[in-house]
């Protein structure tokens, strides 16, 4: 009796549902352009750049489920800093590359439902011919010490991301520390204080020829300019992606070397920020479930991510992706570096920023043309103040280290006299700042002749033989269209110099992006907008030099 009536009422309710469904379908057809955002449901995710290739997959899920998923990309270290704000963080979820960034940043315990979506180790991707020459093909016992020695011998030009901005750089760096500390149980504060450890790590970081704030950009710039360097520390997944672009383009693939005594594995945790909205929480959990479903997991494996229920083993994965000819080991069993405590990670990053990283030689070209008058000029001065004022710079982590060199060249119709500060002596920096504050906006714009002066400065260091001790970069702060009379001459002089430093630009106001983009592309630099705030743009630039 119970069963039968339950069946009947169930049927009636079911019929009601069908009616309602039919009704909505009718409205949809009539309405015509009802899209997924009509529900008003959004999910914002602050994510590491290495997840960019996953966007189509996630967007498709959003379309199907009526959720507008918006992803914002930042370095894992910045994600960790953003988490410091607790529930004031303007995102519904975070997706850094490693759970250590949640451990470090989530001091207010606002994350929930953290789950590792996929794994990828940080490896050395090195030109196949170089790997061959070094005898590293087919070996699993290449140590961090071997890599350091080869880099010191000039066997390859090395690129990696900034350890104080990006997880892949931080992972490689923690791997260096761990290896030079002699593979302890876990890296400790005492290891960080050890002068021998510091010296060895400073030395390998000194071999880095190119730095960037983002793993994805590093890979892309490698593809755009394959002659610029020979090896990069990056995610196995991104080396695989690079190879899948290099090989069809007729280029040699990169060979994957897993450092035997300094391998860190990114575990890519996706975590919800609990702000007390159960509907958002449900959407989040649905998305997470979708990403962890066996279908999606096998799609992610085809993108070079290590997925599945257990272990890192991708034996049986697509051989075009998990390609042993590229040095990729599907059944990876190399022991990984134990994750240090958040306290040790924080101290290691401070040490990196202030003492161990390769010093930078940054030439700032400041546009003082008439069109900069007013807000743009004030913003440009503000930018320099953030870097040169010791109190300001310490809070934004933009401070020069004691070995950095800062050169400022104002320009309008013609370049001004270069002003220079070596190191981070507050008195010297504030003198430089005073000179910047006294600049007046007037005259026309010739960025290229100023670039010519910057090139001369770089050549001066090169002829003294000291340029190799620095990560050199030029940063242009400008608002507008430059005269082009000197352009071709400067471009060919830069190419002929063989110095290969990047030219980045921070674009103010109505900048002519075409000129800046072309300049950045020619020098493997990057154009930064100020739309996310000046300090963000400056931090971004810092990561790239």
């Amino acid at each position: 009796m119970k069963m039968k009536s339950g069946g009947l009422s169930g049927w009636l309710i079911g019929a009601g549902f069908l009616l309602v469904l039919a009704l909505f379908a009718g409205f949809n057809l009539g309405g015509g352009n009802v899209d997924q955002t009509a529900s008003g449901r959004t999910l914002t995710i602050l994510s590491g750049s290495e997840n960019r290739p996953l966007v189509p997959l996630i967007q498709a899920w959003g379309q199907e489920n009526g959720v507008d998923v918006r992803m914002t990309f930042q370095g894992s270290v910045d994600i960790s800093r953003a988490l410091n704000d607790g529930t004031a963080i303007p995102f519904d979820a975070v997706w850094p590359a490693h759970s250590l960034w949640i451990g470090l940043g989530d001091t207010q315990k606002v994350t929930r439902h953290a789950a590792s979506i996929m794994r990828t180790p940080v490896v050395l991707g090195i030109r196949s011919e170089t790997a061959q020459r070094l005898g590293w093909v087919g070996r699993t016992d290449v140590t961090v010490q071997d890599i350091a020695a080869a880099a010191a011998a000039g066997d390859f030009r090395l690129a990696m991301t900034s350890a104080s901005q990006s997880n892949s750089g931080a992972s490689a760096y923690l791997g260096f520390l761990y290896a030079f500390a002699g593979n302890p149980d876990v890296l400790t504060l005492d290891n960080l204080k050890d002068p021998a450890v510091q010296e060895n790590v400073r030395d390998i970081l000194g071999r880095v020829d190119r730095s960037s704030g983002s793993s994805d950009w590093l890979k892309e710039s490698f593809l755009a300019n394959p002659e610029a360097y020979d090896a990069m520390f990056n995610y196995e997944a991104l080396v695989i992606e690079a190879n899948r672009a290099l090989v069809p383009a007729g280029q040699n693939p990169l060979y994957v070397v897993y450092p035997a005594n300094g391998l860190m594995v990114a575990d890519s945790p996706l975590a919800f920020i609990d702000k007390g909205d159960p509907e958002k929480e449900k959407d989040f959990l649905d998305l997470q479930k979708f990403l962890l479903s066996s279908d999606t997991q096998s799609q992610l494996s085809d993108l070079g991510r290590r997925t599945g229920l257990i272990g890192l083993d991708q034996t049986g994965g697509d051989p075009a992706v998990w390609n042993p000819d590229w040095g990729v080991i599907p059944a990876l069993t190399v022991a990984s570096v134990p994750t240090p405590t958040p306290e040790v990670v924080a101290e290691a990053l401070r040490l990196y920023q202030t003492e161990l990283r390769k010093p930078s030689l940054t030439i700032w070209l400041i546009d003082t043309s008439g069109s900069m008058e007013g807000a743009p000029m004030n913003e440009a001065k503000e930018a320099l103040r953030m870097i040169l004022d010791p109190a300001e710079a310490a809070t934004s982590l933009l401070q020069p280290s004691e070995n950095d060199i800062t050169v400022i060249i104002p320009f309008s119709s013609a370049p001004g006299t270069p002003m220079m500060a070596e190191g981070n002596d507050p008195a010297v920096l504030s003198r430089l700042l005073d000179q910047v504050m006294a600049l007046q906006a007037d005259g026309g714009t010739d960025m290229y002749s100023a670039l010519g002066v910057a090139l001369k400065q770089m050549q001066g260091f090169a002829s003294k033989g000291t340029l190799v001790d620095y990560l050199p970069a030029v940063v242009v702060l400008t608002d507008g269209a430059s005269d082009t009379g000197y352009r071709d001459r400067v471009f060919s002089a830069m190419a002929a110099s063989g110095l290969g430093f990047p030219v980045h630009a921070i674009a103010f106001g109505e900048s002519d992006l075409e000129q800046l983009d072309a300049l950045a592309a020619a020098t493997v630099g990057k154009v930064f907008g100020v739309d996310k705030g000046l300090s963000t743009a400056l931090r971004d630039v810092r990561g790239y030099n």
């Binding site: 009422s9 309602v20 009718g26 250590l100 593979n183 302890p184 257990i310 022991a335 134990p338 040790v344």
Partner: protein, 362 residues
């Protein structure tokens, strides 16, 4: 215009049907099955029971037979006992008996405390690691086919500073040890700390006075783990996903594997091929005492002793019964195989000793 008019009519029809169903027929029938309004019991519970409390088979029994629905909020065992506001809560259902002492110390006066389930602390190891530990004489395979670890010998190896590569013969970096959650934050880590302290104290339950000798060794052991997860669910997941190179062997609850295998039945053979459960000898039972603060909770305590519910808790979630006289036979398990009884069990040190130990490990 016309379409929306049809829509309105259709909506009215649906509404009418709904009203008809609820007033006429369904209401009466519901009442004949469930005589009174269901009683909502509010509680804090330890995270290990999440899957169990989400299981419709369990909640159906509570509702249909005992007229109880749960308003349950997940919380840490220690925080619910020590700090969370319990106003309006009927029960606390932590994952350790230490929490009962802590609740009493805070001035709560429970009407009753009933141990509903238990689950022993076990080790989960990659098969290669388990084999190496058998060869090293730390683990034995018993006649029943299960593996048992000699905790005394394991503790001795840890104290000697044994290395995985040199002393256990497996290609891993660092010192030999069993990875656990943070003992300051999580129950399974805390139980492991208690078990290790007992073993390092030559097998006798340590008291506060023993800690001056034991604490430095415990501090070393836990410091060598580096980053420690704060929940047993997280470490279990990281253990599985990050592979042997990251965590060769971990401390967990016996029932975690049962729930994992039941949730991923298709992968059960692969999991069995790669992962081994090892029973420490002696072990500690993590018990799940239901602390009744109101009569409504006392009713829940009775309902949770329903034999069918207890059977499901065992077969689908791996929780051993906390009730005297009930045997957990292993034939009823769906995918996992567990020993019927666990014989070598020690208690945790007293609450005062545990608190002093936690303070020392902070």
């Amino acid at each position: 215009m016309k379409r929306s008019l049809i829509g309105l009519v259709a909506l009215a029809v649906v509404a009418l049907i709904a009203v008809a169903v609820s007033t006429l027929d369904l209401g009466n029938l519901r009442r004949s099955v469930v005589p009174t309004e269901a009683q909502v019991v509010t509680l804090y519970y330890g995270g290990e029971k999440s899957a169990l409390l989400d299981d419709p088979a369990i909640t159906d029994i509570l509702r249909d037979r005992y007229n109880i629905t749960l308003d349950a909020i997940r919380a840490g065992s220690v925080e619910m006992a020590k700090t969370l506001d319990v106003t309006g809560k009927d029960c606390l259902w932590p994952s350790s008996t230490v929490a009962v002492d802590l609740a009493r110390a805070r001035g709560l006066r429970p009407l009753s405390v009933d141990t509903i389930f238990t689950s022993p602390i076990v080790f989960y190891a990659w098969n290669e690691v388990a084999d190496a530990m058998v060869s090293a004489g730390l683990v034995r395979r018993a006649d029943d086919g299960f593996l048992y670890a000699d905790v005394q010998a394991v503790a001795a190896k840890i104290q000697e500073g044994a290395k995985w590569r040199e002393d256990i013969g497996i290609n891993l970096y660092g010192s030999f040890g069993i990875f656990s959650t943070d003992p300051v934050k999580s129950n399974s880590g805390l139980i492991w700390a208690g078990l290790l302290a007992t073993a390092m104290n030559e097998g006798s339950l340590p008291v506060v006075a023993d800690l001056s000798v034991l604490l430095p060794q415990l501090q070393n052991t836990f410091a060598s783990m580096g980053y420690m997860e704060s929940s047993s669910g997280d470490i279990f997941e990281n253990f599985l996903k990050q592979g042997m190179g990251a965590r060769p062997i971990i401390v967990g609850y016996e029932n975690q594997m049962v729930e994992f295998i039941n949730a991923n039945a298709a992968s059960a053979p692969m999991i069995r091929d790669r992962i081994t459960m090892i029973y420490p000898e002696p072990t500690v039972f993590a018990s799940h005492p239901l602390i009744s603060l109101t009569p409504a909770c006392t009713k829940l305590a009775e309902a949770l002793q329903d034999p069918e519910l207890q059977g499901l808790a065992w077969s689908d979630h791996g929780f051993r019964t906390g009730l005297a006289g009930v045997v957990n036979d292993h034939e009823s398990m769906m995918n996992a195989t567990l020993p019927e009884t666990i014989n070598q069990v020690v208690p945790m040190p007293t609450a005062a000793t545990v608190e002093a130990m936690v303070a020392g490990l902070q």
